[in-house]
Amino acid sequence: MTTQLTGMLDHFGDIDKLDLSAVTPMAQPFPIKNVYREDVVVPGLDRQEVLDNAPAPQDGRFRVPPSNGAES
């Protein structure tokens, strides 16, 4: 995979020859702005349905290994 990635990055060097100094970057096709909805309570996802997808649910929460490596 290292060889493949090196080959790709070499190929991607083709844009180095372009003079892009006066070009504005384009991150989105069209201008976007924050969209807000009315601040009213609406139903959320079903808690049990969400937890049913978790690899290790415990007491209504997502159980994860300790972040420092020590078992609590």
Partner: protein, 475 residues
């Protein structure tokens, strides 16, 4: 359209006219699945039981005189990166195997409200990263027209499902050509709408500034109908355009008289001669129908591949950070949290996904941001400027959809860069956010189908569909 299959429009008419029932139509499609799915592998998940229940419900409602919508009784397949509540949605990745979304994508809701019968979830390149549907964790999909060949990708399962008559239509997603290229390789119609015209809510994100959902169908009229059902503003997608989808079914008979069709003055290398011959035939057909052919230039076209393969992996590397083994999907247990993240992602992601995450994180890293991602965003602007200039002198642009017909399975898997070159004609549209579609237009090498791509500016769907309908009449 292959004569053995019935179009969406005809299915709707037959059911409404009482000539057949939703259940009978569904059984015909399920019988074809039974016969050929083992060989083709279009689906990750077949929903025969729920489809039968839905079809029976539609038949009962129609019998009682209730309207069930414009797609009542039409069997439709969904690419397996669209969320379906309570139904597995895998993105053809081991990291999401077994996940059942707690909500439906907006397009799924709209199809169901229109009376469509969902028959299953189709195979794809893992997380939609690929051009052949060989990158699926669950094995490749084969082209129904020649099973030694690929169906294209990444929506190869959706294209194959329609081409094999497993569904009357399907939905795919197109980030760099993932609807149009498989449509071309399988001989069906495929549409990539203007960015924002179809809601992305519930589409598992790959590259959010490029992704769009669109239909696969046998006919242009079917695609127009599907677009009218799935398109339009959705408050749940902040990039959704706040305007209604234009009427497309109404414009199909308007012809192309007086229209200006753009032709690339400099065609990129690597196209098969038979593909170019079909493109010439398409230009001739449109000219005969009253259009004018004008030469145009897209000077930045050759740089699009680089821009795309930096922008898309950069966005993907961010989007795919959510697969961490905590809330859903695969977890590989480890002693600590960081090790668990690493072990889970190492086991859950396939080679192409890892390749793109690494490319993306590299392109976004502090020392290389300006050299790669920053430059790619500027090249993106150049291609948008090229299109703006070209559309001063033409209404649409015609190109091949793919430089080649469907290639043999395994031919390009060892060299990702060669695979990426399949997307040379489709990528520019996604970078610009414009509309494009592929229409079957005869056959090329090995008697495999050739697709002609119609490119249109943003919101140019009505013009694009008029051209597509004319090409369909001429093919």
């Amino acid at each position: 359209m292959t004569s053995e299959f019935v179009s969406v429009v005809d299915i709707v008419g037959s059911i409404r006219g009482g000539k057949t029932t939703a259940s009978d139509v569904l059984e015909q499609h399920l019988a074809r699945i039974d016969k050929r799915e083992t060989e083709i592998h279009a689906f990750n998940h077949i929903m025969a039981e729920s489809a039968r229940a839905n079809a029976a419900s539609i038949d009962a409602d129609l019998k009682a005189g209730n309207d069930r919508g414009p797609l009542a009784g039409v069997p439709i397949a969904l690419k397996d990166n669209m969320c379906t509540r309570g139904v597995p949605t895998t993105c053809s990745s081991k990291i999401l195997e077994g996940w059942k979304p707690p909500y439906d994508a907006t397009v799924v809701t709209r199809l169901q409200q229109a009376g469509a019968v969902i028959v299953g979830k189709t195979n794809l390149d893992e997380f939609a990263m690929g051009s052949s549907t060989e990158n699926s964790a669950f094995g490749p999909t084969r082209n129904p027209l020649d099973t030694s060949r690929v169906p294209g990708g990444s929506s190869g399962g959706s294209a194959a499902a329609v081409a094999a008559g497993f569904a009357a239509a399907s939905l795919g997603s197109d980030t760099g050509g993932s609807i149009r290229q498989p449509a071309a390789l399988c001989g069906v119609v495929g549409v990539k709408p203007t960015y924002g015209m179809v809601s992305r809510q519930g589409l598992v994100a790959f590259a959010s500034s490029l992704d769009q959902i669109g239909p696969f169908t046998h006919t242009v009229a079917d695609a127009a109908l599907l677009m009218e059902v799935i398109g339009g503003h959705d408050p749940l997608d902040s990039t959704s355009l706040d305007q209604p989808v234009p009427s497309l079914t109404a414009v199909l008979g308007q012809g192309v008289k007086g229209m200006r069709i753009g032709r690339l003055a400099d065609m990129p290398d690597g196209c098969e001669p038979e593909v170019l011959a079909r493109l010439d035939a398409a230009f001739a057909a449109l000219k005969a129908a009253g259009a004018t052919i004008v030469d145009i230039a897209l000077p930045s076209l050759s740089y699009c591949l680089t821009a795309y393969y930096l922008v898309a992996p950069a966005e993907a590397s961010s989007n795919l950070a959510r697969y961490d083994g905590v809330r859903y999907g695969l977890r590989v247990e480890s002693a600590d949290l960081i090790s668990m993240y690493g072990a889970t992602r190492a086991a859950g992601f396939g080679a192409e996904v890892k390749r793109r995450i690494m490319l993306g994180t590299y392109a976004l890293s502090a020392g290389y941001y300006d050299a790669y991602y920053g430059k790619a965003l500027k090249v993106r602007r150049l291609i948008a400027n090229d299109f703006a200039a070209a559309y001063q002198s033409c209404d649409v642009i015609l190109t091949p959809t793919s430089p080649t017909v469907a290639f043999p399975i395994g031919e390009k898997t060892s060299d990702p860069l060669t695979m990426y070159l399949c997307d040379i004609f489709t990528i520019p549209t996604n970078l610009a956010g414009h509309a494009a579609m592929s229409v079957p237009f005869g056959t090329g090498a090995h008697s495999m189908p050739v697709g002609v791509q119609i490119l249109a500016p943003a919101l140019g769907e009505p013009t694009m569909f008029r051209v597509a309908a004319e090409l369909e009449r001429a093919s």
